[in-house]
Point group: C2
Chain length 339, copies 2
């Protein structure tokens, strides 16, 4: 399988490391012989070699902060030019997320699908905004559009719903979808004020300097929108759903909830109500006995409510270099692996 | 797909109900047109019709406590005779569990595999005792031997490990595998003495009159053995691993643990230690911040420790009529469904 990596930051490099580390496993267990033939990154430049790149060398250069286009196989042109030129079976789209426009990722994905490449992305922009269009395009071209990493990073919740809960009717999906806000709420319960907890999260690199996307709930909202479109068959945009973040929760409210055996969590939720599909992001007081209550710090979790099994919950990491790289790997295995 | 149901108690009937209820889903989503052609039950008798039985009618008779062999299509002979006679694609083995001998289930499974039927079982006897032999026989005959329901009932943990965590190296599996003991421990933490909590569990039908298999840890040990054999590639028997139940835990010990922020759980565990695979069942004090600590009452849960993702936990039902029936259904979909 020939692979194209578009975006070679944390996620792209995390995946490249896994491709090296797991080479034997992929060959033996899934009959997958993967060659990365092209890489394009806005800052680091582009490479192309139809016979396969030397990933070890590329990683070494990228980690040293140098341009990968200084290596043999330098390619003149941007990501779209590379997609147009390359012969590849699958593209990994891991550029930065723009939740308003979905660009440039959406253009990359359309171009690759049109060239009949499978696509996996960890990018919430295109999936939250254009999922049904991209699904239809993939179907028309006879290839797969996969996006496991967009919701819970490497914790394979979309796969779990699709493969592992096959035959179940899922009536509600409810979870802790943002690790940064969960970390802040955890520290606030320990006694920190909101501002101090946020500062701590920023120091640790969990929260960005402008933390709006996390603390106002937009990141969770994008994930909720992906779940609604992917699992409940609607064609919704993030703006269609109400969204409230954690900025209005006070230390007093948290202490008060604790005294009543409850705990505040920022909950993203999608559910059926009659024929309608509803969704929301909002802080909720969760009962201490609920599996979501025990999910602390940067961990994410999702509870599926099903017709046959009742509630099934998955708890796992919601971010991280190799974790998010793994989400792309699992999509690659599902697109091309044989068992 | 033509199906044979061996054992028509809670699980067999639960599956039959799902086959009726989910008929359209199975047809539309998985292209699976399932006919039950034969049923054999030690108490209720046997039926066979190569053109397919009327499941609604069979269920009606079985629920009324009558013999199904009073219906048209009565078959003279036991389960083995039916397996020998029937033309079927898959057998569901759901007779009672005998953890010492694995019989009569193991004989049923061998006979079906030899006739090139796929097999799914919810029976811990054959899987804990003879998994590698049955796996090899299935492989030789070119069919599948599946047993999702043996560990966490309908919560698809084996599937999750195999399909959803594809590519991960699982180094430890640790969980709450027995709902009865978990229920008893939950009630003891609320203040009941062991005897009273056990009595309560017996009244609710969670524990049997002779509760040894649950409270001495044998049921969890069978599941641990299945995990070790299925996921860690060993050929072990239940007797190979140390096993301690909950009968020696006092109310004082539970209160003491609680005061230290810990909670007693009966933990089944399989892990790698160098080249060796170890396993055990024993009560453990779990830290309140661990996802397993919040798993209360009859719910089960398993934490997978992986090389890439760290810990991933699944929480779900560990027993129940339709839940266990569903585990057989998911195996049927994986054996015969097309997507």
């Amino acid at each position: 399988m020939k692979l194209l990596l578009i975006g070679f930051g944390t996620v792209g490099q995390g995946l490249a490391e896994l491709l090296i580390e797991k080479r034997n496993t992929l060959l033996e267990q899934y009959k997958l012989d993967i060659q990365v033939v092209g890489i394009s990154d806005m800052l680091k430049g582009s490479l192309y070699d139809a016979k396969g790149l030397d990933l070890d060398k590329v990683l070494e250069v990228a980690k040293a902060g140098k341009k990968i286009s200084d290596l043999p196989g330098a390619f003149e042109g941007d990501a779209l030019a590379l997609i147009a030129k390359a012969r590849a079976d699958m593209m990994v789209e891991a550029t930065y997320t723009d939740i308003k426009t979905g660009e440039p990722a959406t253009s990359h994905i359309r171009a690759a699908l049109n060239k009949k490449m499978h696509v996996t992305t960890t990018n919430k922009g295109p999936t939250a905004l254009f999922l049904s269009e991209l699904n239809e395009l993939a179907k028309k071209k006879g290839v797969k559009f996969l996006y496991e990493g967009t919701v819970m990073s490497g914790s394979p919740m979309l796969n779990l719903a699709r493969e592992t809960l096959a035959g179940c009717n899922i009536t509600q999906v409810k979870g802790i979808l943002n690790g940064t806000t969960n970390y802040i709420l955890t520290r606030m319960e320990e006694g920190l004020a909101y501002e101090d907890a946020l500062k701590k999260a920023q120091e640790l690199g969990y929260a960005e300097a402008v933390p709006d996307a996390d603390v106002l709930g937009w990141d969770a909202l994008a994930k909720v929108t992906i779940i609604a479109n992917a699992m409940f068959g609607v064609k919704a945009k993030p703006d269609d759903f109400p969204c409230r973040g954690i900025t209005e929760i006070t230390a007093e409210a948290i202490a008060d909830a604790k005294a009543r055996g409850k705990r505040f969590k920022l909950i993203g939720k999608v559910w059926r109500e009659g024929d309608a599909v509803k969704a929301s992001v909002a802080p909720e007081e969760v009962d201490m006995s609920h599996p979501l209550a025990g999910v602390m710090g940067g961990t994410n979790a999702i509870t599926f409510t099903t017709d046959i099994l009742g509630d099934v919950t998955i708890v796992g990491p919601g971010a991280g270099r190799s974790e998010t790289g793994y989400s792309a790997l699992i999509d690659i295995i599902h697109a091309g692996g044989k068992r």
